[in-house]
Protein backbone atom coordinates (compact mmCIF):
# COMPACT_ATOMS: atom_id res chain seq x y z
CA UNK A 1 0.00 0.00 0.00
CA UNK A 2 2.80 2.40 0.92
CA UNK A 3 4.47 1.91 -2.44
CA UNK A 4 1.24 2.46 -4.33
CA UNK A 5 0.49 5.59 -2.33
CA UNK A 6 3.93 7.01 -3.03
CA UNK A 7 3.77 6.25 -6.72
CA UNK A 8 0.32 7.83 -6.98
CA UNK A 9 1.42 10.97 -5.13
CA UNK A 10 4.55 11.19 -7.25
CA UNK A 11 2.45 11.16 -10.45
CA UNK A 12 0.28 13.97 -9.06
CA UNK A 13 3.20 16.42 -8.72
CA UNK A 14 3.66 17.16 -12.46
CA UNK A 15 -0.12 17.47 -12.81
CA UNK A 16 -0.20 20.02 -9.99
CA UNK A 17 2.59 21.98 -11.67
CA UNK A 18 0.70 21.76 -14.96
CA UNK A 19 -2.37 23.31 -13.36
CA UNK A 20 -0.33 26.21 -11.97
CA UNK A 21 1.24 26.60 -15.39
CA UNK A 22 -2.17 26.98 -17.07
CA UNK A 23 -3.17 29.51 -14.41
CA UNK A 24 0.05 31.47 -14.92
CA UNK A 25 -0.39 31.41 -18.69
CA UNK A 26 -3.66 33.28 -18.21
CA UNK A 27 -1.81 36.04 -16.37
CA UNK A 28 1.06 36.13 -18.81
CA UNK A 29 -1.25 36.38 -21.83
CA UNK A 30 -3.49 39.02 -20.28
CA UNK A 31 -3.35 42.42 -21.93
CA UNK A 32 -2.36 45.43 -19.85
CA UNK A 33 0.33 46.05 -17.25
CA UNK A 34 0.89 42.80 -15.30
CA UNK A 35 1.74 44.69 -12.12
CA UNK A 36 -1.95 45.63 -11.74
CA UNK A 37 -2.74 41.98 -11.02
CA UNK A 38 0.07 41.60 -8.48
CA UNK A 39 0.13 44.62 -6.14
CA UNK A 40 -2.76 45.89 -4.02
CA UNK A 41 -4.26 48.69 -6.18
CA UNK A 42 -4.91 50.93 -3.15
CA UNK A 43 -1.19 50.83 -2.31
CA UNK A 44 -0.17 51.14 -5.93
CA UNK A 45 -2.10 54.40 -6.32
CA UNK A 46 -0.18 56.13 -3.50
CA UNK A 47 3.34 55.13 -4.44
CA UNK A 48 6.02 56.87 -6.45
CA UNK A 49 7.07 55.55 -9.89
CA UNK A 50 10.46 54.57 -8.39
CA UNK A 51 8.75 52.38 -5.79
CA UNK A 52 6.66 50.72 -8.50
CA UNK A 53 9.80 50.08 -10.58
CA UNK A 54 11.38 48.51 -7.50
CA UNK A 55 8.40 46.12 -7.02
CA UNK A 56 8.47 45.34 -10.74
CA UNK A 57 12.08 44.20 -10.39
CA UNK A 58 11.25 42.24 -7.23
CA UNK A 59 8.46 40.35 -9.00
CA UNK A 60 10.77 39.67 -11.92
CA UNK A 61 8.41 41.37 -14.36
CA UNK A 62 11.42 42.73 -16.29
CA UNK A 63 12.85 39.22 -16.66
CA UNK A 64 11.98 36.34 -19.04
CA UNK A 65 8.70 34.40 -18.61
CA UNK A 66 10.23 31.33 -16.85
CA UNK A 67 11.73 33.58 -14.15
CA UNK A 68 8.40 35.35 -13.75
CA UNK A 69 6.70 31.97 -13.38
CA UNK A 70 9.04 30.83 -10.61
CA UNK A 71 8.66 34.13 -8.73
CA UNK A 72 4.88 33.96 -9.11
CA UNK A 73 4.84 30.32 -7.93
CA UNK A 74 6.85 31.13 -4.80
CA UNK A 75 4.35 33.90 -4.00
CA UNK A 76 1.48 31.49 -4.64
CA UNK A 77 2.87 28.94 -2.16
CA UNK A 78 2.76 31.69 0.47
CA UNK A 79 -0.89 32.34 -0.34
CA UNK A 80 -0.44 35.38 -2.59
CA UNK A 81 -3.02 35.07 -5.37
CA UNK A 82 -2.77 38.66 -6.56
CA UNK A 83 -5.52 41.16 -7.30
CA UNK A 84 -8.49 41.32 -9.64
CA UNK A 85 -7.96 43.65 -12.57
CA UNK A 86 -11.66 44.52 -12.76
CA UNK A 87 -12.86 44.73 -9.15
CA UNK A 88 -9.44 45.60 -7.63
CA UNK A 89 -10.09 43.22 -4.75
CA UNK A 90 -7.73 40.56 -3.49
CA UNK A 91 -8.35 37.30 -5.38
CA UNK A 92 -7.61 35.25 -2.26
CA UNK A 93 -10.12 37.16 -0.11
CA UNK A 94 -12.78 36.91 -2.79
CA UNK A 95 -12.28 33.16 -3.14
CA UNK A 96 -12.36 32.68 0.63
CA UNK A 97 -15.80 34.27 0.87
CA UNK A 98 -17.23 32.66 -2.29
CA UNK A 99 -15.95 29.10 -2.00
CA UNK A 100 -18.01 28.07 1.10
CA UNK A 101 -21.14 29.39 -0.61
CA UNK A 102 -20.48 27.17 -3.63
CA UNK A 103 -19.49 24.18 -1.51
CA UNK A 104 -22.83 24.35 0.30
CA UNK A 105 -24.69 24.10 -3.00
CA UNK A 106 -22.40 21.44 -4.44
CA UNK A 107 -22.47 19.37 -1.24
CA UNK A 108 -26.27 19.38 -1.14
CA UNK A 109 -26.40 18.47 -4.84
CA UNK A 110 -23.90 15.63 -4.45
CA UNK A 111 -25.86 14.27 -1.49
CA UNK A 112 -29.02 14.39 -3.60
CA UNK A 113 -27.20 12.63 -6.44
CA UNK A 114 -25.97 9.81 -4.21
CA UNK A 115 -29.23 9.31 -2.33
CA UNK A 116 -31.30 9.23 -5.51
CA UNK A 117 -28.84 7.87 -8.08
CA UNK A 118 -27.43 4.77 -6.41
CA UNK A 119 -30.71 3.18 -5.17
CA UNK A 120 -32.50 3.81 -8.47
CA UNK A 121 -29.53 2.52 -10.43
CA UNK A 122 -29.59 -0.66 -8.34
CA UNK A 123 -33.33 -0.99 -8.87
CA UNK A 124 -32.94 -0.65 -12.65
CA UNK A 125 -30.20 -3.30 -12.71
CA UNK A 126 -32.19 -5.78 -10.61
CA UNK A 127 -35.20 -5.39 -12.89
CA UNK A 128 -33.20 -5.38 -16.12
CA UNK A 129 -35.32 -5.31 -19.30
CA UNK A 130 -38.44 -4.46 -17.29
CA UNK A 131 -40.61 -1.46 -18.05
CA UNK A 132 -39.24 0.27 -14.97
CA UNK A 133 -35.69 -0.26 -16.25
CA UNK A 134 -36.53 1.26 -19.63
CA UNK A 135 -38.34 4.18 -18.03
CA UNK A 136 -35.45 4.90 -15.67
CA UNK A 137 -32.83 4.53 -18.40
CA UNK A 138 -34.70 6.86 -20.73
CA UNK A 139 -35.14 9.36 -17.92
CA UNK A 140 -31.41 9.33 -17.11
CA UNK A 141 -30.56 9.83 -20.78
CA UNK A 142 -33.00 12.76 -20.95
CA UNK A 143 -31.50 14.30 -17.81
CA UNK A 144 -27.95 13.89 -19.08
CA UNK A 145 -28.92 15.54 -22.38
CA UNK A 146 -30.89 18.46 -20.96
CA UNK A 147 -28.71 21.51 -20.32
CA UNK A 148 -28.64 22.50 -16.64
CA UNK A 149 -29.78 26.03 -17.39
CA UNK A 150 -32.89 24.83 -19.24
CA UNK A 151 -33.71 22.51 -16.35
CA UNK A 152 -33.19 25.43 -13.98
CA UNK A 153 -35.47 27.75 -15.97
CA UNK A 154 -38.14 25.03 -16.15
CA UNK A 155 -37.90 24.54 -12.39
CA UNK A 156 -38.27 28.27 -11.77
CA UNK A 157 -41.20 28.45 -14.19
CA UNK A 158 -42.97 25.51 -12.58
CA UNK A 159 -42.22 25.80 -8.86
CA UNK A 160 -41.46 29.48 -8.55
CA UNK A 161 -43.82 31.21 -10.97
CA UNK A 162 -46.79 28.88 -11.30
CA UNK A 163 -46.98 26.94 -8.05
CA UNK A 164 -45.26 29.66 -5.99
CA UNK A 165 -43.87 26.97 -3.71
CA UNK A 166 -40.23 27.92 -3.43
CA UNK A 167 -37.95 30.94 -3.73
CA UNK A 168 -36.03 31.07 -7.01
CA UNK A 169 -33.04 33.29 -6.34
CA UNK A 170 -30.40 34.12 -3.76
CA UNK A 171 -29.47 32.34 -0.56
CA UNK A 172 -31.98 33.95 1.82
CA UNK A 173 -34.95 36.32 1.77
CA UNK A 174 -33.67 39.88 1.70
CA UNK A 175 -34.60 41.91 4.77
CA UNK A 176 -36.06 38.94 6.61
CA UNK A 177 -34.72 37.64 9.92
CA UNK A 178 -32.10 35.00 9.02
CA UNK A 179 -33.36 31.51 9.78
CA UNK A 180 -32.26 28.01 8.90
CA UNK A 181 -35.66 27.14 7.42
CA UNK A 182 -35.47 30.10 5.06
CA UNK A 183 -31.97 29.13 3.94
CA UNK A 184 -32.99 25.54 3.32
CA UNK A 185 -36.01 26.70 1.30
CA UNK A 186 -33.64 28.72 -0.90
CA UNK A 187 -31.33 25.75 -1.31
CA UNK A 188 -33.97 23.24 -2.45
CA UNK A 189 -34.42 24.26 -6.10
CA UNK A 190 -30.80 24.94 -7.09
CA UNK A 191 -29.49 21.87 -5.28
CA UNK A 192 -32.11 19.65 -6.90
CA UNK A 193 -31.48 21.03 -10.38
CA UNK A 194 -27.73 20.60 -9.95
CA UNK A 195 -28.15 17.21 -8.27
CA UNK A 196 -30.41 15.70 -10.95
CA UNK A 197 -27.62 15.45 -13.50
CA UNK A 198 -25.33 13.82 -10.94
CA UNK A 199 -28.10 11.47 -9.93
CA UNK A 200 -28.52 10.51 -13.58
CA UNK A 201 -24.81 9.90 -14.09
CA UNK A 202 -24.53 7.87 -10.87
CA UNK A 203 -27.61 5.87 -11.79
CA UNK A 204 -26.14 4.95 -15.16
CA UNK A 205 -22.86 3.84 -13.63
CA UNK A 206 -24.46 1.98 -10.72
CA UNK A 207 -26.72 0.10 -13.12
CA UNK A 208 -23.95 -1.02 -15.45
CA UNK A 209 -21.62 -1.86 -12.56
CA UNK A 210 -24.29 -4.01 -10.89
CA UNK A 211 -25.16 -5.75 -14.15
CA UNK A 212 -21.52 -6.68 -14.60
CA UNK A 213 -21.26 -8.16 -11.10
CA UNK A 214 -24.59 -9.97 -11.42
CA UNK A 215 -23.19 -11.91 -14.40
CA UNK A 216 -20.17 -13.14 -12.47
CA UNK A 217 -19.65 -16.75 -11.44
CA UNK A 218 -19.40 -16.12 -7.72
CA UNK A 219 -22.94 -14.71 -7.74
CA UNK A 220 -24.25 -17.83 -9.46
CA UNK A 221 -22.36 -19.91 -6.89
CA UNK A 222 -23.87 -17.94 -4.03
CA UNK A 223 -27.34 -18.49 -5.47
CA UNK A 224 -26.56 -22.15 -6.04
CA UNK A 225 -25.60 -22.55 -2.38
CA UNK A 226 -29.19 -21.66 -1.62
CA UNK A 227 -28.60 -18.22 -0.12
CA UNK A 228 -31.61 -15.92 -0.14
CA UNK A 229 -31.80 -13.22 -2.81
CA UNK A 230 -31.40 -10.61 -0.11
CA UNK A 231 -28.15 -12.04 1.23
CA UNK A 232 -26.77 -12.61 -2.25
CA UNK A 233 -27.56 -9.04 -3.21
CA UNK A 234 -26.27 -7.33 -0.08
CA UNK A 235 -23.20 -9.45 0.58
CA UNK A 236 -22.05 -10.62 -2.83
CA UNK A 237 -23.35 -8.15 -5.38
CA UNK A 238 -23.70 -4.70 -3.87
CA UNK A 239 -20.32 -4.63 -2.14
CA UNK A 240 -18.44 -5.51 -5.30
CA UNK A 241 -20.54 -3.28 -7.50
CA UNK A 242 -20.06 -0.18 -5.38
CA UNK A 243 -16.26 -0.24 -5.64
CA UNK A 244 -16.15 1.20 -9.20
CA UNK A 245 -18.65 3.83 -8.04
CA UNK A 246 -15.87 5.26 -5.83
CA UNK A 247 -13.92 6.35 -8.88
CA UNK A 248 -17.08 7.67 -10.53
CA UNK A 249 -17.56 9.86 -7.46
CA UNK A 250 -14.03 11.17 -7.96
CA UNK A 251 -14.77 12.04 -11.57
CA UNK A 252 -18.07 13.67 -10.69
CA UNK A 253 -16.44 16.79 -9.25
CA UNK A 254 -15.61 18.45 -12.61
CA UNK A 255 -19.22 17.83 -13.69
CA UNK A 256 -20.41 19.28 -10.42
CA UNK A 257 -18.27 22.41 -10.85
CA UNK A 258 -19.52 23.03 -14.39
CA UNK A 259 -23.10 22.49 -13.25
CA UNK A 260 -22.56 24.82 -10.29
CA UNK A 261 -21.28 27.64 -12.53
CA UNK A 262 -24.50 27.47 -14.52
CA UNK A 263 -26.87 26.78 -11.63
CA UNK A 264 -25.45 29.68 -9.63
CA UNK A 265 -26.10 31.94 -12.60
CA UNK A 266 -29.69 30.77 -13.03
CA UNK A 267 -30.57 31.02 -9.33
CA UNK A 268 -28.41 34.07 -8.51
CA UNK A 269 -26.52 31.97 -5.96
CA UNK A 270 -23.56 34.20 -5.00
CA UNK A 271 -20.85 31.54 -5.11
CA UNK A 272 -17.58 31.04 -6.97
CA UNK A 273 -19.26 30.14 -10.26
CA UNK A 274 -21.41 33.26 -10.19
CA UNK A 275 -18.26 35.30 -9.64
CA UNK A 276 -16.40 33.43 -12.40
CA UNK A 277 -19.06 34.23 -14.99
CA UNK A 278 -18.91 37.89 -14.08
CA UNK A 279 -15.11 37.82 -14.22
CA UNK A 280 -15.22 36.30 -17.72
CA UNK A 281 -17.69 38.95 -18.88
CA UNK A 282 -15.53 41.71 -17.34
CA UNK A 283 -12.42 40.34 -19.12
CA UNK A 284 -10.75 39.74 -15.76
CA UNK A 285 -8.22 36.89 -16.24
CA UNK A 286 -6.54 37.36 -12.87
CA UNK A 287 -9.77 36.48 -11.04
CA UNK A 288 -10.47 33.49 -13.31
CA UNK A 289 -6.89 32.37 -12.72
CA UNK A 290 -7.78 32.01 -9.03
CA UNK A 291 -10.92 30.01 -9.83
CA UNK A 292 -8.99 27.72 -12.20
CA UNK A 293 -6.37 27.10 -9.49
CA UNK A 294 -8.91 26.30 -6.79
CA UNK A 295 -10.99 24.03 -9.04
CA UNK A 296 -7.98 22.33 -10.63
CA UNK A 297 -6.37 21.54 -7.30
CA UNK A 298 -9.72 20.48 -5.84
CA UNK A 299 -10.34 18.05 -8.71
CA UNK A 300 -6.79 16.72 -8.48
CA UNK A 301 -7.21 16.03 -4.76
CA UNK A 302 -10.58 14.38 -5.25
CA UNK A 303 -9.33 12.05 -7.99
CA UNK A 304 -6.32 11.24 -5.82
CA UNK A 305 -8.60 10.50 -2.86
CA UNK A 306 -10.85 8.36 -5.07
CA UNK A 307 -7.87 6.39 -6.39
CA UNK A 308 -6.57 5.75 -2.88
CA UNK A 309 -10.01 4.78 -1.61
CA UNK A 310 -10.32 2.42 -4.58
CA UNK A 311 -6.98 0.82 -3.76
CA UNK A 312 -8.09 0.34 -0.15
CA UNK A 313 -11.36 -1.25 -1.23
CA UNK A 314 -9.91 -3.36 -4.04
CA UNK A 315 -6.39 -4.70 -3.33
CA UNK A 316 -6.00 -5.87 -6.94
CA UNK A 317 -5.42 -2.26 -7.97
CA UNK A 318 -2.37 -2.00 -5.75
CA UNK A 319 -0.71 -5.09 -7.15
CA UNK A 320 -1.40 -4.79 -10.84
CA UNK A 321 0.51 -1.91 -12.39
CA UNK A 322 -2.15 -1.53 -15.06
CA UNK A 323 -3.69 1.90 -15.08
CA UNK A 324 -7.42 2.32 -15.02
CA UNK A 325 -8.67 4.30 -17.94
CA UNK A 326 -11.76 6.30 -17.17
CA UNK A 327 -13.49 8.88 -19.22
Amino acid sequence: MGRYLLRRLFIAIPVLLGITFVAFAALALAPGDPILARIDPSILAQQSPEWIEERRRELGLDRPIPVQYVKWLSGLVQGDLGYSVATRRSVGDELRTRLPVSLKLMGAALLFGIVVGIPFGALAALKQHSRLDYALSSLTMLLISTPTFFLGLLAIYLFGVHLRLLPTGGMATLGAIPSLADQIRHLVLPATVLGLRNAALLMRHTRSSLLEVLREDHVTTARGKGLSQRVVFLRHVLRNALIPIISVLGFLLPELVVGAVITEQVFAWPGMGFMAVRAAADRDPSMLMGVVLVVGIGVLISTLAADIAYAVADPRVRFTQKQKTWI
Binding site: V15, S145, E255, I262, V277, T325
Partner: protein, 292 residues
Amino acid sequence: MDLTQDEQRPARTRRGPGPWARFLRHRLACGGAVFLGVIILAALLAPWVGRHDPFHTELERLNQAPDAVHWLGTDLIGRDVWSRVIHGSRTSLTVGILAVALSTLIGSLLGALAGYSGGPVDQAVMRATEVMMSIPVLLMVMLFVSLLGPSLASVTLVIGLLGWSSTCRVVRGEVLVLREKEFIVAARSLGNGHARVILRHILPNTVGPLSVIATFGFANAILLEAALSFLGLGVPPPTPSWGGMLNEAQSPTVLAGMPWLWMAPGAAIALTVLAVNFIGDGLRDSADVRSL
Protein backbone atom coordinates in the same frame (compact mmCIF):
# COMPACT_ATOMS: atom_id res chain seq x y z
CA MET B 1 -12.16 -7.52 -41.16
CA ASP B 2 -8.73 -8.95 -40.51
CA LEU B 3 -8.02 -12.08 -38.54
CA THR B 4 -6.11 -10.44 -35.73
CA GLN B 5 -9.14 -8.44 -34.72
CA ASP B 6 -11.42 -11.44 -34.80
CA GLU B 7 -9.29 -13.39 -32.39
CA GLN B 8 -10.06 -11.18 -29.44
CA ARG B 9 -13.79 -11.16 -30.00
CA PRO B 10 -16.10 -13.84 -28.63
CA ALA B 11 -16.80 -16.54 -31.17
CA ARG B 12 -20.48 -15.69 -31.56
CA THR B 13 -19.82 -12.29 -33.15
CA ARG B 14 -17.97 -13.90 -36.01
CA ARG B 15 -21.10 -15.62 -37.23
CA GLY B 16 -23.47 -12.99 -35.84
CA PRO B 17 -24.55 -9.76 -37.49
CA GLY B 18 -21.92 -7.14 -38.32
CA PRO B 19 -21.62 -3.75 -36.63
CA TRP B 20 -24.02 -2.06 -39.03
CA ALA B 21 -26.75 -4.64 -38.56
CA ARG B 22 -26.30 -4.37 -34.80
CA PHE B 23 -26.60 -0.59 -34.98
CA LEU B 24 -29.78 -0.82 -37.04
CA ARG B 25 -31.27 -3.13 -34.42
CA HIS B 26 -30.75 -0.44 -31.77
CA ARG B 27 -34.13 1.30 -32.04
CA LEU B 28 -33.30 4.39 -29.98
CA ALA B 29 -30.09 4.94 -31.94
CA CYS B 30 -31.97 4.76 -35.23
CA GLY B 31 -34.57 7.18 -33.91
CA GLY B 32 -31.74 9.48 -32.85
CA ALA B 33 -30.13 9.25 -36.28
CA VAL B 34 -33.42 10.10 -38.01
CA PHE B 35 -33.99 13.07 -35.68
CA LEU B 36 -30.46 14.34 -36.18
CA GLY B 37 -30.97 13.95 -39.93
CA VAL B 38 -34.07 16.15 -39.73
CA ILE B 39 -32.15 18.78 -37.73
CA ILE B 40 -29.27 18.76 -40.26
CA LEU B 41 -31.76 19.09 -43.12
CA ALA B 42 -33.48 21.99 -41.34
CA ALA B 43 -30.11 23.66 -40.83
CA LEU B 44 -29.21 23.27 -44.51
CA LEU B 45 -32.60 24.52 -45.68
CA ALA B 46 -32.96 27.11 -42.90
CA PRO B 47 -33.94 30.05 -45.14
CA TRP B 48 -36.91 28.03 -46.48
CA VAL B 49 -37.85 26.07 -43.35
CA GLY B 50 -37.54 29.19 -41.21
CA ARG B 51 -40.06 31.10 -43.41
CA HIS B 52 -38.92 34.47 -41.98
CA ASP B 53 -35.68 36.43 -41.81
CA PRO B 54 -34.16 35.65 -38.38
CA PHE B 55 -32.71 39.17 -38.11
CA HIS B 56 -35.75 41.13 -39.34
CA THR B 57 -37.41 43.13 -36.57
CA GLU B 58 -41.09 43.90 -36.88
CA LEU B 59 -41.60 46.85 -34.57
CA GLU B 60 -45.38 46.63 -34.64
CA ARG B 61 -45.25 42.99 -33.54
CA LEU B 62 -43.13 42.82 -30.36
CA ASN B 63 -43.56 39.96 -27.84
CA GLN B 64 -46.36 38.30 -29.74
CA ALA B 65 -47.68 34.93 -28.65
CA PRO B 66 -47.55 32.14 -31.25
CA ASP B 67 -50.08 32.41 -34.10
CA ALA B 68 -50.49 31.25 -37.72
CA VAL B 69 -47.93 33.72 -39.11
CA HIS B 70 -45.31 33.44 -36.36
CA TRP B 71 -45.46 29.78 -35.33
CA LEU B 72 -43.50 30.38 -32.14
CA GLY B 73 -44.36 34.05 -31.69
CA THR B 74 -41.94 36.97 -31.79
CA ASP B 75 -39.23 38.05 -29.35
CA LEU B 76 -38.57 41.28 -27.45
CA ILE B 77 -37.56 43.18 -30.59
CA GLY B 78 -40.06 41.57 -32.93
CA ARG B 79 -37.99 38.83 -34.55
CA ASP B 80 -39.63 35.55 -35.56
CA VAL B 81 -38.76 32.90 -32.92
CA TRP B 82 -39.38 29.87 -35.17
CA SER B 83 -36.95 31.22 -37.72
CA ARG B 84 -34.36 31.92 -35.03
CA VAL B 85 -34.70 28.40 -33.60
CA ILE B 86 -34.22 26.92 -37.09
CA HIS B 87 -31.24 29.17 -37.85
CA GLY B 88 -29.87 28.49 -34.36
CA SER B 89 -29.36 24.86 -35.38
CA ARG B 90 -26.70 26.09 -37.82
CA THR B 91 -24.73 27.63 -34.97
CA SER B 92 -24.98 24.55 -32.75
CA LEU B 93 -24.11 22.09 -35.51
CA THR B 94 -21.25 24.19 -36.90
CA VAL B 95 -19.61 24.65 -33.52
CA GLY B 96 -20.23 20.99 -32.63
CA ILE B 97 -18.83 19.53 -35.87
CA LEU B 98 -15.79 21.80 -36.16
CA ALA B 99 -14.88 21.55 -32.48
CA VAL B 100 -15.21 17.77 -32.42
CA ALA B 101 -13.21 17.41 -35.64
CA LEU B 102 -10.41 19.46 -34.13
CA SER B 103 -10.37 17.68 -30.78
CA THR B 104 -10.58 14.25 -32.43
CA LEU B 105 -7.62 15.12 -34.64
CA ILE B 106 -5.50 16.35 -31.73
CA GLY B 107 -6.62 13.61 -29.36
CA SER B 108 -6.07 10.70 -31.73
CA LEU B 109 -2.66 11.89 -32.88
CA LEU B 110 -1.45 12.56 -29.33
CA GLY B 111 -2.98 9.32 -28.06
CA ALA B 112 -1.40 7.28 -30.85
CA LEU B 113 1.94 8.97 -30.26
CA ALA B 114 1.77 8.30 -26.51
CA GLY B 115 0.66 4.69 -26.80
CA TYR B 116 3.03 3.86 -29.64
CA SER B 117 6.19 5.42 -28.24
CA GLY B 118 5.65 4.64 -24.56
CA GLY B 119 8.28 5.75 -22.05
CA PRO B 120 8.79 9.44 -21.30
CA VAL B 121 6.64 10.63 -24.23
CA ASP B 122 3.76 8.54 -22.94
CA GLN B 123 4.27 9.84 -19.40
CA ALA B 124 4.35 13.45 -20.57
CA VAL B 125 1.19 13.11 -22.66
CA MET B 126 -0.65 11.32 -19.87
CA ARG B 127 0.24 14.01 -17.34
CA ALA B 128 -0.95 16.63 -19.81
CA THR B 129 -4.31 14.86 -20.20
CA GLU B 130 -4.60 14.73 -16.41
CA VAL B 131 -4.04 18.47 -16.23
CA MET B 132 -6.73 18.97 -18.89
CA MET B 133 -9.10 16.69 -17.00
CA SER B 134 -8.53 18.51 -13.70
CA ILE B 135 -9.71 21.83 -15.10
CA PRO B 136 -13.25 21.55 -16.49
CA VAL B 137 -13.38 22.63 -20.16
CA LEU B 138 -16.09 25.20 -19.40
CA LEU B 139 -13.75 27.00 -16.99
CA MET B 140 -10.88 26.85 -19.47
CA VAL B 141 -13.10 28.28 -22.18
CA MET B 142 -14.22 31.03 -19.80
CA LEU B 143 -10.57 31.81 -19.11
CA PHE B 144 -9.81 32.08 -22.82
CA VAL B 145 -12.94 34.11 -23.50
CA SER B 146 -11.76 36.55 -20.81
CA LEU B 147 -8.56 36.92 -22.84
CA LEU B 148 -9.92 36.89 -26.39
CA GLY B 149 -13.50 38.06 -25.97
CA PRO B 150 -16.50 36.03 -27.18
CA SER B 151 -16.99 35.19 -30.87
CA LEU B 152 -18.20 32.22 -32.90
CA ALA B 153 -14.64 31.46 -34.04
CA SER B 154 -13.02 31.72 -30.61
CA VAL B 155 -15.69 29.55 -28.99
CA THR B 156 -15.32 26.84 -31.64
CA LEU B 157 -11.55 26.98 -31.58
CA VAL B 158 -11.27 26.86 -27.81
CA ILE B 159 -13.77 24.00 -27.37
CA GLY B 160 -11.91 22.08 -30.10
CA LEU B 161 -8.45 22.82 -28.73
CA LEU B 162 -9.31 21.86 -25.16
CA GLY B 163 -11.60 18.87 -25.53
CA TRP B 164 -9.11 16.24 -26.61
CA SER B 165 -8.18 14.60 -23.30
CA SER B 166 -10.75 11.78 -23.32
CA THR B 167 -10.10 10.97 -27.00
CA CYS B 168 -6.40 10.87 -26.25
CA ARG B 169 -6.81 8.44 -23.35
CA VAL B 170 -9.06 6.10 -25.30
CA VAL B 171 -6.84 6.03 -28.40
CA ARG B 172 -3.77 5.48 -26.24
CA GLY B 173 -5.44 2.51 -24.55
CA GLU B 174 -6.32 1.00 -27.93
CA VAL B 175 -2.85 1.58 -29.34
CA LEU B 176 -1.21 -0.07 -26.33
CA VAL B 177 -3.04 -3.28 -27.28
CA LEU B 178 -2.62 -2.86 -31.04
CA ARG B 179 1.12 -2.24 -31.11
CA GLU B 180 1.82 -5.74 -29.80
CA LYS B 181 -0.18 -7.35 -32.61
CA GLU B 182 1.53 -9.38 -35.28
CA PHE B 183 0.30 -7.31 -38.20
CA ILE B 184 1.95 -4.23 -36.72
CA VAL B 185 5.20 -6.08 -36.18
CA ALA B 186 4.88 -7.34 -39.76
CA ALA B 187 4.24 -3.84 -41.08
CA ARG B 188 7.32 -2.59 -39.27
CA SER B 189 9.56 -5.39 -40.49
CA LEU B 190 8.45 -4.73 -44.07
CA GLY B 191 10.32 -1.46 -43.72
CA ASN B 192 7.50 0.99 -43.02
CA GLY B 193 8.40 4.05 -40.97
CA HIS B 194 6.82 4.79 -37.59
CA ALA B 195 4.62 7.59 -38.93
CA ARG B 196 3.28 5.36 -41.70
CA VAL B 197 2.58 2.51 -39.29
CA ILE B 198 0.68 4.84 -36.96
CA LEU B 199 -1.34 6.52 -39.72
CA ARG B 200 -2.00 3.56 -42.01
CA HIS B 201 -2.11 0.57 -39.69
CA ILE B 202 -2.85 1.69 -36.15
CA LEU B 203 -5.27 4.60 -36.35
CA PRO B 204 -7.66 2.92 -38.84
CA ASN B 205 -8.08 0.14 -36.31
CA THR B 206 -9.23 2.54 -33.61
CA VAL B 207 -12.16 3.80 -35.70
CA GLY B 208 -14.74 1.93 -33.61
CA PRO B 209 -13.96 3.50 -30.22
CA LEU B 210 -13.03 6.76 -31.91
CA SER B 211 -16.46 7.11 -33.52
CA VAL B 212 -18.14 6.45 -30.18
CA ILE B 213 -16.08 9.03 -28.33
CA ALA B 214 -16.43 11.57 -31.12
CA THR B 215 -20.22 11.16 -31.02
CA PHE B 216 -20.36 11.82 -27.29
CA GLY B 217 -17.87 14.65 -27.82
CA PHE B 218 -20.21 16.17 -30.40
CA ALA B 219 -23.06 16.11 -27.86
CA ASN B 220 -20.79 17.70 -25.26
CA ALA B 221 -19.59 20.42 -27.63
CA ILE B 222 -23.21 21.37 -28.42
CA LEU B 223 -23.98 21.53 -24.70
CA LEU B 224 -20.85 23.61 -24.05
CA GLU B 225 -21.63 26.12 -26.78
CA ALA B 226 -25.19 26.39 -25.48
CA ALA B 227 -23.97 26.87 -21.91
CA LEU B 228 -21.47 29.55 -22.95
CA SER B 229 -24.00 31.41 -25.06
CA PHE B 230 -26.46 31.16 -22.17
CA LEU B 231 -23.86 32.73 -19.87
CA GLY B 232 -23.36 35.50 -22.43
CA LEU B 233 -19.82 34.31 -23.14
CA GLY B 234 -20.45 32.40 -26.35
CA VAL B 235 -21.79 33.35 -29.74
CA PRO B 236 -22.53 37.10 -29.49
CA PRO B 237 -25.91 38.50 -30.62
CA PRO B 238 -27.52 39.00 -33.07
CA THR B 239 -26.40 35.60 -34.43
CA PRO B 240 -29.21 33.19 -33.51
CA SER B 241 -28.04 30.50 -31.09
CA TRP B 242 -30.14 28.25 -28.86
CA GLY B 243 -28.16 29.03 -25.73
CA GLY B 244 -28.25 32.74 -26.48
CA MET B 245 -32.04 32.64 -26.83
CA LEU B 246 -32.27 31.22 -23.32
CA ASN B 247 -29.94 33.95 -22.09
CA GLU B 248 -32.62 36.46 -23.07
CA ALA B 249 -35.15 34.52 -21.01
CA GLN B 250 -33.39 35.17 -17.74
CA SER B 251 -35.46 38.25 -17.01
CA PRO B 252 -38.46 37.35 -14.84
CA THR B 253 -41.00 38.92 -17.21
CA VAL B 254 -39.86 36.77 -20.15
CA LEU B 255 -39.51 33.66 -18.02
CA ALA B 256 -43.00 33.93 -16.57
CA GLY B 257 -44.93 35.70 -19.32
CA MET B 258 -43.37 34.58 -22.61
CA PRO B 259 -42.50 30.90 -22.36
CA TRP B 260 -42.47 30.58 -26.20
CA LEU B 261 -39.25 32.57 -26.22
CA TRP B 262 -37.24 30.02 -24.26
CA MET B 263 -39.06 26.69 -24.23
CA ALA B 264 -38.52 25.97 -27.94
CA PRO B 265 -34.75 26.61 -28.04
CA GLY B 266 -34.31 24.77 -24.72
CA ALA B 267 -36.20 21.77 -26.04
CA ALA B 268 -34.19 21.96 -29.28
CA ILE B 269 -30.90 21.65 -27.38
CA ALA B 270 -32.17 18.83 -25.17
CA LEU B 271 -33.65 16.82 -28.06
CA THR B 272 -30.62 17.26 -30.35
CA VAL B 273 -28.21 16.25 -27.60
CA LEU B 274 -30.48 13.35 -26.64
CA ALA B 275 -30.53 12.16 -30.27
CA VAL B 276 -26.73 12.35 -30.49
CA ASN B 277 -26.34 10.52 -27.18
CA PHE B 278 -28.66 7.73 -28.38
CA ILE B 279 -26.54 7.41 -31.53
CA GLY B 280 -23.46 7.20 -29.34
CA ASP B 281 -25.07 4.47 -27.24
CA GLY B 282 -25.95 2.52 -30.37
CA LEU B 283 -22.46 2.90 -31.80
CA ARG B 284 -20.93 1.76 -28.52
CA ASP B 285 -23.06 -1.36 -28.39
CA SER B 286 -22.50 -2.21 -32.06
CA ALA B 287 -18.77 -1.49 -32.07
CA ASP B 288 -18.42 -3.73 -29.01
CA VAL B 289 -16.59 -1.09 -27.00
CA ARG B 290 -17.04 -1.96 -23.36
CA SER B 291 -15.02 0.61 -21.47
CA LEU B 292 -16.90 3.61 -22.84
